[in-house]
Protein backbone atom coordinates (compact mmCIF):
# COMPACT_ATOMS: atom_id res chain seq x y z
CA UNK A 1 0.00 0.00 0.00
CA UNK A 2 1.28 3.49 -0.76
CA UNK A 3 0.47 6.69 1.08
CA UNK A 4 0.66 10.33 -0.02
CA UNK A 5 3.90 12.21 0.49
CA UNK A 6 4.18 13.71 3.98
CA UNK A 7 3.72 17.33 4.90
CA UNK A 8 3.50 19.51 7.97
CA UNK A 9 -0.12 20.67 8.47
CA UNK A 10 -0.82 24.33 9.12
CA UNK A 11 -3.95 24.88 11.23
CA UNK A 12 -4.85 28.52 10.87
CA UNK A 13 -6.67 30.17 13.72
CA UNK A 14 -10.34 30.61 12.94
CA UNK A 15 -10.26 28.32 9.93
CA UNK A 16 -13.05 25.76 9.97
CA UNK A 17 -11.67 22.75 8.13
CA UNK A 18 -13.90 20.56 6.00
CA UNK A 19 -13.43 16.82 5.82
CA UNK A 20 -11.35 17.23 2.69
CA UNK A 21 -9.12 19.73 4.47
CA UNK A 22 -8.53 17.39 7.36
CA UNK A 23 -7.74 14.62 4.91
CA UNK A 24 -4.79 16.58 3.55
CA UNK A 25 -3.88 18.34 6.80
CA UNK A 26 -3.79 15.29 9.03
CA UNK A 27 -5.03 11.97 7.71
CA UNK A 28 -2.61 11.74 4.81
CA UNK A 29 0.48 12.82 6.75
CA UNK A 30 -0.43 10.55 9.66
CA UNK A 31 -0.94 7.64 7.29
CA UNK A 32 2.51 8.23 5.85
CA UNK A 33 4.22 8.49 9.21
CA UNK A 34 2.61 5.19 10.13
CA UNK A 35 3.49 3.50 6.84
CA UNK A 36 6.72 4.94 5.47
CA UNK A 37 8.43 4.19 2.21
CA UNK A 38 10.12 0.79 2.57
CA UNK A 39 12.09 -1.30 0.10
CA UNK A 40 13.41 -4.77 0.90
CA UNK A 41 15.17 -7.26 -1.32
CA UNK A 42 17.51 -10.22 -1.21
CA UNK A 43 19.60 -12.03 -3.77
CA UNK A 44 18.29 -15.54 -4.25
CA UNK A 45 18.56 -16.66 -7.86
CA UNK A 46 21.49 -15.25 -9.82
CA UNK A 47 24.82 -14.56 -8.18
CA UNK A 48 26.96 -11.49 -8.69
CA UNK A 49 30.65 -11.78 -9.44
CA UNK A 50 32.91 -9.54 -7.39
CA UNK A 51 36.09 -9.03 -9.43
CA UNK A 52 39.45 -9.88 -7.97
CA UNK A 53 40.60 -6.45 -9.13
CA UNK A 54 38.65 -4.97 -6.23
CA UNK A 55 36.08 -3.13 -8.34
CA UNK A 56 33.01 -2.06 -6.39
CA UNK A 57 30.12 -3.95 -7.95
CA UNK A 58 26.40 -3.48 -7.45
CA UNK A 59 24.64 -6.54 -6.06
CA UNK A 60 21.93 -7.90 -8.36
CA UNK A 61 19.12 -8.38 -5.86
CA UNK A 62 16.50 -10.51 -7.60
CA UNK A 63 14.05 -11.39 -4.85
CA UNK A 64 12.10 -8.18 -4.34
CA UNK A 65 10.26 -8.73 -1.06
CA UNK A 66 8.67 -5.32 -0.74
CA UNK A 67 8.58 -2.43 -3.23
CA UNK A 68 5.18 -0.73 -2.99
CA UNK A 69 6.39 2.36 -4.82
CA UNK A 70 7.98 0.34 -7.66
CA UNK A 71 11.32 2.02 -7.34
CA UNK A 72 13.54 -0.96 -8.17
CA UNK A 73 15.40 -0.92 -11.49
CA UNK A 74 16.51 -4.48 -12.18
CA UNK A 75 18.65 -3.39 -15.11
CA UNK A 76 20.68 -0.96 -13.01
CA UNK A 77 20.34 -2.89 -9.73
CA UNK A 78 19.33 0.25 -7.92
CA UNK A 79 16.31 1.76 -6.23
CA UNK A 80 14.80 5.22 -6.42
CA UNK A 81 12.12 6.76 -4.23
CA UNK A 82 9.13 8.14 -6.11
CA UNK A 83 8.85 11.79 -6.98
CA UNK A 84 7.56 13.76 -4.03
CA UNK A 85 9.11 11.43 -1.48
CA UNK A 86 12.50 13.02 -1.05
CA UNK A 87 14.07 12.59 2.31
CA UNK A 88 16.62 10.81 4.45
CA UNK A 89 16.62 7.08 4.01
CA UNK A 90 18.29 4.53 6.28
CA UNK A 91 19.97 1.83 4.19
CA UNK A 92 21.03 -1.48 5.72
CA UNK A 93 23.08 -3.77 3.54
CA UNK A 94 24.42 -7.30 4.03
CA UNK A 95 26.72 -9.03 1.54
CA UNK A 96 27.46 -12.76 1.55
CA UNK A 97 29.89 -14.64 -0.62
CA UNK A 98 30.74 -18.26 -1.22
CA UNK A 99 34.20 -19.54 -0.32
CA UNK A 100 36.66 -17.07 -1.86
CA UNK A 101 39.25 -19.73 -2.57
CA UNK A 102 41.79 -18.55 -0.02
CA UNK A 103 42.04 -16.88 3.37
CA UNK A 104 43.04 -13.21 3.86
CA UNK A 105 40.45 -11.97 1.37
CA UNK A 106 38.72 -8.82 2.63
CA UNK A 107 35.04 -8.13 1.90
CA UNK A 108 33.88 -4.52 1.83
CA UNK A 109 30.16 -3.60 1.68
CA UNK A 110 29.28 -0.32 0.01
CA UNK A 111 26.27 1.87 -0.51
CA UNK A 112 26.62 3.41 -3.95
CA UNK A 113 24.55 5.57 -6.18
CA UNK A 114 23.74 8.91 -7.61
CA UNK A 115 22.46 10.52 -4.44
CA UNK A 116 24.22 13.79 -3.81
CA UNK A 117 23.52 13.38 -0.13
CA UNK A 118 25.36 10.09 0.00
CA UNK A 119 28.61 11.41 1.38
CA UNK A 120 30.01 7.90 1.73
CA UNK A 121 29.86 6.92 -1.92
CA UNK A 122 32.99 4.92 -2.50
CA UNK A 123 34.07 4.59 1.12
CA UNK A 124 34.34 1.27 2.94
CA UNK A 125 31.46 0.71 5.30
CA UNK A 126 33.23 -2.23 6.93
CA UNK A 127 36.27 -4.33 6.02
CA UNK A 128 35.98 -7.95 7.02
CA UNK A 129 38.67 -10.59 6.51
CA UNK A 130 37.03 -13.81 5.43
CA UNK A 131 37.55 -17.50 6.06
CA UNK A 132 37.80 -19.76 3.03
CA UNK A 133 34.14 -20.55 3.38
CA UNK A 134 30.79 -18.83 3.04
CA UNK A 135 31.04 -15.53 4.86
CA UNK A 136 29.66 -12.03 4.93
CA UNK A 137 29.77 -8.40 6.00
CA UNK A 138 27.03 -5.98 7.01
CA UNK A 139 26.74 -2.25 7.39
CA UNK A 140 24.45 0.77 6.99
CA UNK A 141 24.23 4.48 6.31
CA UNK A 142 21.69 7.27 5.89
CA UNK A 143 21.35 8.81 2.43
CA UNK A 144 19.39 11.81 1.25
CA UNK A 145 17.47 10.83 -1.86
CA UNK A 146 15.62 13.16 -4.19
CA UNK A 147 12.42 11.43 -5.14
CA UNK A 148 12.24 10.51 -8.78
CA UNK A 149 15.88 11.23 -9.54
CA UNK A 150 18.37 9.77 -7.07
CA UNK A 151 19.14 6.06 -7.04
CA UNK A 152 20.83 3.92 -4.45
CA UNK A 153 22.45 0.50 -4.69
CA UNK A 154 23.94 -2.09 -2.39
CA UNK A 155 27.41 -3.02 -3.58
CA UNK A 156 30.59 -4.75 -2.52
CA UNK A 157 34.23 -5.24 -3.33
CA UNK A 158 36.77 -7.90 -2.48
CA UNK A 159 40.35 -6.98 -1.71
CA UNK A 160 43.49 -9.10 -1.63
CA UNK A 161 41.91 -11.82 -3.73
CA UNK A 162 43.63 -13.59 -6.60
CA UNK A 163 40.37 -14.76 -8.11
CA UNK A 164 36.86 -13.47 -8.59
CA UNK A 165 34.47 -14.11 -5.74
CA UNK A 166 30.81 -15.03 -6.14
CA UNK A 167 27.93 -13.93 -3.93
CA UNK A 168 26.10 -16.62 -1.99
CA UNK A 169 22.43 -17.34 -2.70
CA UNK A 170 21.66 -19.69 0.19
CA UNK A 171 18.80 -18.53 2.39
CA UNK A 172 20.08 -16.97 5.59
CA UNK A 173 23.53 -16.41 4.17
CA UNK A 174 22.68 -14.35 1.12
CA UNK A 175 22.89 -10.65 0.35
CA UNK A 176 20.12 -8.29 1.34
CA UNK A 177 19.23 -4.62 1.29
CA UNK A 178 16.56 -2.64 3.08
CA UNK A 179 15.78 1.05 2.57
CA UNK A 180 13.49 2.97 4.92
CA UNK A 181 12.37 6.61 4.82
CA UNK A 182 13.15 8.15 8.20
CA UNK A 183 12.81 11.89 7.81
CA UNK A 184 11.84 14.66 5.51
Amino acid sequence: MTTPAPSVPDFIAGFGPQQSDLQSLWVSPAAFFQQKVVFRATQATTATTLPSAGTTTAIGYDNIIEDPYSGWDAGESNWSPPAGYSGWYLVTVTVWVTAPGATQVVLVPHIAGSAAGNAVNGYPLACVVLPNGASGAESFWYCYLEGGSDAIAGAAAVLNSSSNVTTDLTAGQNSSIEILWVSG
Binding site: A13, Q19, V38, V129, G133, S139, L159, G184
Partner: protein
Protein backbone atom coordinates in the same frame (compact mmCIF):
# COMPACT_ATOMS: atom_id res chain seq x y z
CA UNK B 1 13.75 23.98 17.38
CA UNK B 2 11.24 26.86 17.25
CA UNK B 3 7.59 25.90 17.68
CA UNK B 4 8.29 22.30 18.68
CA UNK B 5 7.38 20.75 22.01
CA UNK B 6 7.66 17.21 23.34
CA UNK B 7 4.62 15.30 22.03
CA UNK B 8 1.95 15.24 24.70
CA UNK B 9 -1.39 14.94 22.91
CA UNK B 10 -4.54 15.84 24.76
CA UNK B 11 -7.20 13.33 25.73
CA UNK B 12 -10.45 14.49 24.23
CA UNK B 13 -13.75 14.59 26.08
CA UNK B 14 -17.22 14.91 24.59
CA UNK B 15 -18.00 18.49 23.86
CA UNK B 16 -14.38 19.63 23.55
CA UNK B 17 -14.16 22.16 20.73
CA UNK B 18 -11.83 21.10 17.95
CA UNK B 19 -9.82 24.28 17.70
CA UNK B 20 -6.91 25.20 15.49
CA UNK B 21 -4.63 25.61 18.47
CA UNK B 22 -5.42 22.13 19.76
CA UNK B 23 -4.90 20.54 16.37
CA UNK B 24 -1.70 22.50 15.93
CA UNK B 25 -0.44 21.45 19.32
CA UNK B 26 -0.85 17.76 18.58
CA UNK B 27 -0.93 17.13 14.86
CA UNK B 28 1.41 19.78 13.57
CA UNK B 29 3.81 19.03 16.38
CA UNK B 30 4.05 15.38 15.39
CA UNK B 31 4.42 16.21 11.71
CA UNK B 32 7.29 18.55 12.60
CA UNK B 33 9.02 15.59 14.20
CA UNK B 34 8.98 13.48 11.08
CA UNK B 35 8.59 15.73 8.07
CA UNK B 36 9.76 19.03 9.48
CA UNK B 37 13.20 18.11 10.74
CA UNK B 38 12.33 18.53 14.41
CA UNK B 39 13.59 15.08 15.29
CA UNK B 40 17.22 15.30 16.38
CA UNK B 41 19.42 13.56 13.87
CA UNK B 42 23.15 13.73 13.32
CA UNK B 43 25.27 12.33 10.54
CA UNK B 44 29.01 12.81 10.88
CA UNK B 45 31.76 11.71 8.52
CA UNK B 46 35.37 11.78 9.71
CA UNK B 47 37.98 11.72 6.97
CA UNK B 48 40.63 13.39 9.06
CA UNK B 49 42.94 10.34 9.20
CA UNK B 50 43.14 10.45 12.97
CA UNK B 51 45.74 8.09 14.40
CA UNK B 52 44.25 6.10 17.28
CA UNK B 53 46.33 5.53 20.39
CA UNK B 54 47.18 1.84 20.63
CA UNK B 55 44.88 -0.12 22.92
CA UNK B 56 43.00 3.02 23.90
CA UNK B 57 39.52 4.16 23.02
CA UNK B 58 40.30 7.17 20.83
CA UNK B 59 37.47 9.62 20.32
CA UNK B 60 36.80 10.61 16.72
CA UNK B 61 36.01 14.22 15.84
CA UNK B 62 32.50 14.79 14.54
CA UNK B 63 32.90 18.14 12.81
CA UNK B 64 34.81 17.14 9.67
CA UNK B 65 31.80 16.54 7.41
CA UNK B 66 28.30 16.89 8.82
CA UNK B 67 25.69 15.99 6.20
CA UNK B 68 22.88 16.33 8.73
CA UNK B 69 22.49 18.09 12.08
CA UNK B 70 18.79 18.85 12.43
CA UNK B 71 19.02 20.79 15.68
CA UNK B 72 22.17 22.62 14.69
CA UNK B 73 23.91 21.24 17.75
CA UNK B 74 27.19 23.14 18.04
CA UNK B 75 29.88 21.28 16.14
CA UNK B 76 33.39 22.59 15.69
CA UNK B 77 34.28 22.08 12.07
CA UNK B 78 38.01 22.11 12.56
CA UNK B 79 39.98 20.14 15.06
CA UNK B 80 38.89 18.35 18.10
CA UNK B 81 35.25 18.17 19.06
CA UNK B 82 34.16 14.61 19.65
CA UNK B 83 31.01 14.96 21.70
CA UNK B 84 27.49 15.47 20.43
CA UNK B 85 25.46 17.39 22.96
CA UNK B 86 22.04 15.79 23.27
CA UNK B 87 19.38 18.43 22.45
CA UNK B 88 16.15 16.57 23.14
CA UNK B 89 15.49 13.93 25.78
CA UNK B 90 14.44 10.50 24.63
CA UNK B 91 15.63 7.33 22.97
CA UNK B 92 18.40 7.55 20.41
CA UNK B 93 19.49 4.93 17.91
CA UNK B 94 23.26 5.31 17.66
CA UNK B 95 25.14 3.62 14.85
CA UNK B 96 28.76 3.87 13.86
CA UNK B 97 31.42 2.55 11.53
CA UNK B 98 35.18 2.78 11.89
CA UNK B 99 37.49 1.50 9.15
CA UNK B 100 41.26 1.59 9.53
CA UNK B 101 44.34 1.58 7.43
CA UNK B 102 46.52 -1.17 8.82
CA UNK B 103 50.23 -1.38 9.57
CA UNK B 104 52.72 -3.42 11.56
CA UNK B 105 51.34 -6.90 12.12
CA UNK B 106 47.65 -6.26 11.44
CA UNK B 107 46.67 -9.92 11.50
CA UNK B 108 47.57 -10.10 15.20
CA UNK B 109 45.30 -7.25 16.27
CA UNK B 110 41.67 -6.41 16.52
CA UNK B 111 39.88 -3.37 15.13
CA UNK B 112 36.75 -2.05 16.73
CA UNK B 113 34.39 0.83 17.29
CA UNK B 114 32.27 1.95 20.19
CA UNK B 115 30.35 4.72 21.89
CA UNK B 116 31.35 6.82 24.88
CA UNK B 117 28.46 8.52 26.63
CA UNK B 118 27.15 10.54 29.49
CA UNK B 119 23.65 9.27 30.27
CA UNK B 120 21.35 11.21 32.61
CA UNK B 121 24.37 12.97 34.02
CA UNK B 122 26.40 9.84 34.71
CA UNK B 123 29.43 8.68 32.77
CA UNK B 124 28.40 5.33 31.31
CA UNK B 125 30.76 2.52 30.47
CA UNK B 126 32.00 2.57 26.91
CA UNK B 127 29.94 0.31 24.66
CA UNK B 128 31.81 -1.64 22.01
CA UNK B 129 30.16 -2.58 18.76
CA UNK B 130 31.69 -4.56 15.95
CA UNK B 131 35.23 -5.78 16.51
CA UNK B 132 37.02 -7.59 13.71
CA UNK B 133 40.39 -9.05 12.86
CA UNK B 134 42.45 -7.92 9.90
CA UNK B 135 44.18 -9.47 6.98
CA UNK B 136 47.88 -10.20 7.39
CA UNK B 137 48.53 -7.76 4.54
CA UNK B 138 49.16 -4.14 5.57
CA UNK B 139 47.72 -3.10 2.24
CA UNK B 140 44.23 -4.02 3.30
CA UNK B 141 41.93 -2.10 5.63
CA UNK B 142 39.94 -3.46 8.55
CA UNK B 143 36.76 -2.10 10.05
CA UNK B 144 33.45 -2.81 11.67
CA UNK B 145 30.08 -1.29 12.41
CA UNK B 146 28.03 -1.21 15.60
CA UNK B 147 24.84 0.02 17.17
CA UNK B 148 23.38 1.03 20.51
CA UNK B 149 20.10 2.30 21.88
CA UNK B 150 20.20 4.89 24.65
CA UNK B 151 17.73 6.83 26.78
CA UNK B 152 19.31 10.27 27.05
CA UNK B 153 18.50 13.35 29.03
CA UNK B 154 19.43 16.69 27.50
CA UNK B 155 22.81 18.34 27.54
CA UNK B 156 21.11 21.35 29.07
CA UNK B 157 19.80 19.30 31.99
CA UNK B 158 22.56 16.84 32.79
CA UNK B 159 25.33 17.38 30.19
CA UNK B 160 24.41 14.20 28.28
CA UNK B 161 26.68 13.55 25.31
CA UNK B 162 27.70 10.80 22.91
CA UNK B 163 30.98 10.23 21.09
CA UNK B 164 32.23 7.63 18.64
CA UNK B 165 35.58 6.03 19.32
CA UNK B 166 38.10 3.86 17.55
CA UNK B 167 39.98 1.10 19.31
CA UNK B 168 42.69 -1.16 17.98
CA UNK B 169 45.11 -3.42 19.80
CA UNK B 170 47.66 -2.90 17.04
CA UNK B 171 50.76 -1.47 18.73
CA UNK B 172 51.53 0.51 15.56
CA UNK B 173 48.09 1.61 14.51
CA UNK B 174 47.39 3.01 11.11
CA UNK B 175 45.11 5.98 10.60
CA UNK B 176 41.36 5.83 10.72
CA UNK B 177 40.30 5.58 7.09
CA UNK B 178 36.75 6.73 7.81
CA UNK B 179 34.66 7.23 10.91
CA UNK B 180 30.90 7.41 10.48
CA UNK B 181 28.46 8.30 13.24
CA UNK B 182 24.72 8.49 13.03
CA UNK B 183 22.36 9.44 15.81
CA UNK B 184 18.59 9.39 15.42
CA UNK B 185 15.93 10.26 18.01
CA UNK B 186 13.39 7.44 17.93
CA UNK B 187 11.09 8.04 20.87
CA UNK B 188 10.14 9.82 24.05
CA UNK B 189 11.84 8.69 27.26
CA UNK B 190 10.24 6.22 29.61
CA UNK B 191 11.00 7.61 33.04
CA UNK B 192 13.55 8.77 35.55
CA UNK B 193 15.32 11.68 33.87
CA UNK B 194 16.78 14.26 36.21
CA UNK B 195 15.28 17.77 36.00
CA UNK B 196 13.25 16.74 32.96
CA UNK B 197 9.90 18.48 32.63
CA UNK B 198 8.83 17.21 29.22
CA UNK B 199 6.49 14.32 28.51
CA UNK B 200 7.25 10.64 28.88
CA UNK B 201 6.05 8.01 26.46
CA UNK B 202 2.60 6.44 26.53
CA UNK B 203 2.07 2.88 25.33
CA UNK B 204 -0.64 2.39 22.71
CA UNK B 205 -0.91 -1.37 22.46
CA UNK B 206 -3.35 -1.48 19.54
CA UNK B 207 -2.73 1.51 17.29
CA UNK B 208 -5.29 2.08 14.56
CA UNK B 209 -4.57 3.19 11.03
CA UNK B 210 -5.12 6.82 10.16
CA UNK B 211 -8.70 7.17 8.93
CA UNK B 212 -10.80 9.82 7.30
CA UNK B 213 -12.75 12.26 9.40
CA UNK B 214 -16.54 12.04 9.23
CA UNK B 215 -18.11 13.87 6.34
CA UNK B 216 -20.23 16.90 7.07
CA UNK B 217 -23.49 15.57 5.63
CA UNK B 218 -23.16 12.27 7.50
CA UNK B 219 -24.70 9.12 6.07
CA UNK B 220 -28.06 7.27 6.09
CA UNK B 221 -29.72 4.03 7.16
CA UNK B 222 -29.77 1.29 4.56
CA UNK B 223 -31.63 -1.42 6.47
CA UNK B 224 -34.57 -2.53 4.38
CA UNK B 225 -37.62 -1.37 6.29
CA UNK B 226 -35.51 0.65 8.67
CA UNK B 227 -34.76 -0.35 12.26
CA UNK B 228 -37.17 -0.91 15.11
CA UNK B 229 -37.31 0.57 18.56
CA UNK B 230 -34.84 -1.29 20.70
CA UNK B 231 -32.52 -2.07 17.80
CA UNK B 232 -28.88 -2.68 18.72
CA UNK B 233 -27.56 -2.71 15.18
CA UNK B 234 -27.92 -0.48 12.16
CA UNK B 235 -26.48 -0.72 8.66
CA UNK B 236 -25.35 2.54 7.10
CA UNK B 237 -24.28 3.63 3.65
CA UNK B 238 -20.83 4.87 4.78
CA UNK B 239 -19.05 4.17 8.06
CA UNK B 240 -16.37 6.83 7.57
CA UNK B 241 -15.43 8.51 10.82
CA UNK B 242 -17.15 6.02 13.07
CA UNK B 243 -15.24 4.49 15.96
CA UNK B 244 -16.28 2.33 18.88
CA UNK B 245 -17.17 4.65 21.69
CA UNK B 246 -18.35 7.37 19.35
CA UNK B 247 -21.85 8.75 18.90
CA UNK B 248 -24.37 8.67 16.05
CA UNK B 249 -27.34 10.97 15.58
CA UNK B 250 -30.23 8.96 14.14
CA UNK B 251 -32.65 11.14 12.22
CA UNK B 252 -30.30 14.07 12.73
CA UNK B 253 -29.00 16.21 9.89
CA UNK B 254 -26.83 19.34 9.95
CA UNK B 255 -26.90 19.17 13.70
CA UNK B 256 -30.70 19.43 13.82
CA UNK B 257 -33.45 16.83 14.40
CA UNK B 258 -34.85 15.63 11.07
CA UNK B 259 -37.77 13.82 12.68
CA UNK B 260 -39.24 14.04 16.14
CA UNK B 261 -37.70 10.60 16.82
CA UNK B 262 -34.21 12.04 16.52
CA UNK B 263 -31.92 10.50 19.11
CA UNK B 264 -28.25 9.89 19.90
CA UNK B 265 -26.86 6.38 20.29
CA UNK B 266 -23.41 5.10 21.18
CA UNK B 267 -21.33 2.94 18.87
CA UNK B 268 -20.39 -0.35 20.52
CA UNK B 269 -18.86 -2.12 17.53
CA UNK B 270 -18.18 -1.78 13.82
CA UNK B 271 -18.12 -4.49 11.16
CA UNK B 272 -17.91 -2.91 7.76
CA UNK B 273 -21.07 -0.84 7.44
CA UNK B 274 -22.93 -2.78 10.15
CA UNK B 275 -22.75 -0.74 13.30
CA UNK B 276 -23.51 -2.13 16.75
CA UNK B 277 -25.20 0.55 18.84
CA UNK B 278 -26.80 1.13 22.19
CA UNK B 279 -30.49 0.22 22.03
CA UNK B 280 -32.63 2.75 20.22
CA UNK B 281 -35.58 4.35 21.94
CA UNK B 282 -37.41 4.81 18.62
CA UNK B 283 -37.79 3.21 15.22
CA UNK B 284 -36.01 4.84 12.29
CA UNK B 285 -36.92 4.51 8.63
CA UNK B 286 -34.75 3.27 5.80
CA UNK B 287 -32.84 6.23 4.29
CA UNK B 288 -33.17 8.20 7.53
CA UNK B 289 -30.19 10.53 7.95
CA UNK B 290 -27.43 9.59 10.35
CA UNK B 291 -25.22 12.34 11.72
CA UNK B 292 -21.64 11.34 12.45
CA UNK B 293 -20.10 13.91 14.74
CA UNK B 294 -16.37 14.12 15.29
CA UNK B 295 -16.51 12.29 18.59
CA UNK B 296 -14.05 12.33 21.45
CA UNK B 297 -13.51 8.64 20.81
CA UNK B 298 -12.57 9.42 17.22
CA UNK B 299 -10.17 12.19 18.22
CA UNK B 300 -8.55 10.02 20.87
CA UNK B 301 -8.06 7.17 18.43
CA UNK B 302 -7.04 9.27 15.45
CA UNK B 303 -5.11 12.06 17.06
CA UNK B 304 -4.02 11.22 20.59
CA UNK B 305 -3.22 7.54 20.01
CA UNK B 306 -1.49 8.06 16.67
CA UNK B 307 0.73 10.76 18.18
CA UNK B 308 1.43 8.65 21.23
CA UNK B 309 2.33 5.54 19.27
CA UNK B 310 4.58 7.30 16.78
CA UNK B 311 6.29 9.10 19.66
CA UNK B 312 6.82 5.96 21.69
CA UNK B 313 6.95 2.87 19.49
CA UNK B 314 7.95 -0.66 20.53
CA UNK B 315 11.68 -0.78 21.30
CA UNK B 316 13.88 -3.25 23.11
CA UNK B 317 17.53 -3.37 24.09
CA UNK B 318 18.65 -6.57 25.76
CA UNK B 319 22.23 -7.28 26.81
CA UNK B 320 23.95 -10.28 28.26
CA UNK B 321 24.56 -10.49 32.01
CA UNK B 322 27.15 -13.24 32.00
CA UNK B 323 29.35 -15.26 29.67
CA UNK B 324 28.13 -18.23 27.69
CA UNK B 325 29.97 -21.20 26.26
CA UNK B 326 29.46 -21.43 22.49
CA UNK B 327 30.25 -24.88 21.13
CA UNK B 328 32.28 -25.22 17.99
CA UNK B 329 29.96 -26.02 15.11
CA UNK B 330 29.80 -26.23 11.37
CA UNK B 331 28.22 -23.16 9.80
CA UNK B 332 25.29 -22.40 9.51
CA UNK B 333 24.54 -24.29 12.70
CA UNK B 334 24.34 -21.81 15.56
CA UNK B 335 23.72 -21.42 19.28
CA UNK B 336 21.08 -19.14 20.72
CA UNK B 337 22.51 -16.40 22.93
CA UNK B 338 21.03 -16.58 26.40
CA UNK B 339 21.36 -14.71 29.70
CA UNK B 340 19.94 -11.62 28.04
CA UNK B 341 18.27 -8.97 30.17
CA UNK B 342 16.32 -6.04 28.76
CA UNK B 343 17.35 -2.58 29.95
CA UNK B 344 14.90 -0.98 27.49
CA UNK B 345 11.57 -2.61 26.64
CA UNK B 346 8.88 -0.05 25.98
CA UNK B 347 6.09 -2.54 25.21
CA UNK B 348 7.27 -5.27 27.63
CA UNK B 349 7.83 -7.81 24.88
CA UNK B 350 11.10 -9.34 26.06
CA UNK B 351 11.30 -12.50 28.16
CA UNK B 352 13.30 -15.71 28.24
CA UNK B 353 15.96 -14.48 25.84
CA UNK B 354 13.60 -13.57 23.04
CA UNK B 355 11.56 -10.59 21.96
CA UNK B 356 7.92 -11.20 21.14
CA UNK B 357 6.77 -8.65 18.59
CA UNK B 358 3.96 -6.59 20.19
CA UNK B 359 2.76 -4.65 17.14
CA UNK B 360 3.13 -5.67 13.51
CA UNK B 361 5.39 -3.68 11.24
CA UNK B 362 8.88 -3.17 9.91
CA UNK B 363 11.47 -3.35 12.66
CA UNK B 364 15.11 -2.33 12.70
CA UNK B 365 16.86 -5.32 14.26
CA UNK B 366 20.48 -5.36 15.36
CA UNK B 367 22.45 -8.04 17.11
CA UNK B 368 26.04 -8.58 18.13
CA UNK B 369 27.89 -11.50 19.66
CA UNK B 370 31.17 -10.90 21.48
CA UNK B 371 33.56 -13.84 21.43
CA UNK B 372 36.53 -14.38 23.74
CA UNK B 373 38.74 -15.41 20.85
CA UNK B 374 41.30 -18.15 20.39
CA UNK B 375 44.86 -18.70 19.24
CA UNK B 376 43.41 -21.25 16.85
CA UNK B 377 42.04 -19.82 13.62
CA UNK B 378 38.28 -19.58 13.65
CA UNK B 379 35.34 -18.03 11.87
CA UNK B 380 32.49 -16.47 13.82
CA UNK B 381 29.23 -14.77 13.04
CA UNK B 382 26.08 -13.29 14.56
CA UNK B 383 22.57 -14.03 13.36
CA UNK B 384 18.92 -13.23 13.93
CA UNK B 385 16.15 -15.80 13.90
CA UNK B 386 12.49 -14.88 13.42
CA UNK B 387 10.36 -17.46 15.25
CA UNK B 388 11.55 -20.87 13.96
CA UNK B 389 12.73 -19.60 10.59
CA UNK B 390 16.12 -19.67 8.93
CA UNK B 391 18.73 -17.70 10.81
CA UNK B 392 19.71 -14.50 9.02
CA UNK B 393 23.49 -14.18 9.43
CA UNK B 394 25.39 -10.91 9.35
CA UNK B 395 29.15 -10.43 9.45
CA UNK B 396 31.28 -13.59 9.46
CA UNK B 397 35.00 -13.00 9.87
CA UNK B 398 38.10 -15.13 10.26
CA UNK B 399 40.39 -14.57 13.22
CA UNK B 400 43.90 -16.01 13.28
CA UNK B 401 45.65 -14.30 16.17
CA UNK B 402 48.33 -16.85 16.86
CA UNK B 403 50.17 -14.49 19.19
CA UNK B 404 47.28 -14.52 21.66
CA UNK B 405 43.53 -14.83 21.80
CA UNK B 406 41.74 -11.52 21.13
CA UNK B 407 38.06 -10.87 21.71
CA UNK B 408 36.08 -10.21 18.55
CA UNK B 409 32.50 -9.14 17.94
CA UNK B 410 30.32 -10.13 14.99
CA UNK B 411 27.27 -8.06 14.08
CA UNK B 412 24.01 -8.45 12.18
CA UNK B 413 21.59 -5.73 11.11
CA UNK B 414 18.36 -5.84 9.11
CA UNK B 415 14.98 -4.26 8.62
CA UNK B 416 12.46 -7.08 8.96
CA UNK B 417 8.71 -7.10 8.49
CA UNK B 418 7.25 -8.85 11.52
CA UNK B 419 3.79 -9.80 12.68
CA UNK B 420 2.59 -9.54 16.24
CA UNK B 421 3.50 -12.68 18.15
CA UNK B 422 6.60 -13.55 16.16
CA UNK B 423 9.76 -13.87 18.20
CA UNK B 424 13.27 -12.55 17.63
CA UNK B 425 16.27 -14.47 18.91
CA UNK B 426 20.01 -13.77 18.70
CA UNK B 427 22.41 -16.48 17.56
CA UNK B 428 26.14 -17.00 17.44
CA UNK B 429 28.37 -19.52 15.71
CA UNK B 430 32.09 -20.29 15.77
CA UNK B 431 34.21 -23.11 14.39
CA UNK B 432 37.47 -22.96 16.36
CA UNK B 433 37.32 -26.67 17.09
CA UNK B 434 36.66 -26.12 20.81
CA UNK B 435 34.00 -24.45 22.91
CA UNK B 436 34.56 -20.70 23.21
CA UNK B 437 33.10 -18.34 25.77
CA UNK B 438 31.40 -15.11 24.92
CA UNK B 439 32.70 -11.94 26.57
CA UNK B 440 30.63 -10.08 29.14
CA UNK B 441 32.37 -7.05 30.64
CA UNK B 442 31.27 -3.48 31.32
CA UNK B 443 31.89 -2.39 27.75
CA UNK B 444 32.05 -5.61 25.75
CA UNK B 445 28.95 -7.76 25.63
CA UNK B 446 26.42 -9.26 23.29
CA UNK B 447 23.14 -7.48 22.70
CA UNK B 448 19.90 -7.43 20.76
CA UNK B 449 18.12 -4.23 19.70
CA UNK B 450 14.74 -3.97 17.98
CA UNK B 451 12.96 -0.72 17.07
CA UNK B 452 9.57 -0.45 15.34
CA UNK B 453 9.93 1.80 12.28
CA UNK B 454 6.81 1.49 10.12
CA UNK B 455 3.60 -0.36 9.49
Amino acid sequence: MPGFTYPSPRTWSEGDPVTASRLRGDMTNLALLYAGGARPMLLSVNLQSQIPVASTATLLYIGNIVPLNTWNVPVITTGGQAYYQIPLAGYYLAQGIVSYDTSGSPGQARYSMGFATVVNGGASADSYGGCVPASTSTSEPAGAAGCELYQFNTYANTADTLALYAYTSNSSPGAVLIGLLSLEWVGLPTSGLTDYTGSYGTVVSSPQAAASFPSGPGTYITNSGGIASGAVSVTVHDATGMVTGGTLGLDVIAGQPYQNVAEAVSITGITGTTISISATAYAHAQNAPVAVPVSAAFMNQQCRDIVNFLSYPPMVRAATTTTQSIPSSTFPNGTQITNLSASIDTFSGFASNEYTVPVAGVYFVYGQVFYAGSTAAFAASAGIQVSSGTINWGTQFRSDTTSGALSMCATVRRHLRLTAGQTIKLYGTQNSGSAMNTIDTAGSFSRLICVWRSV
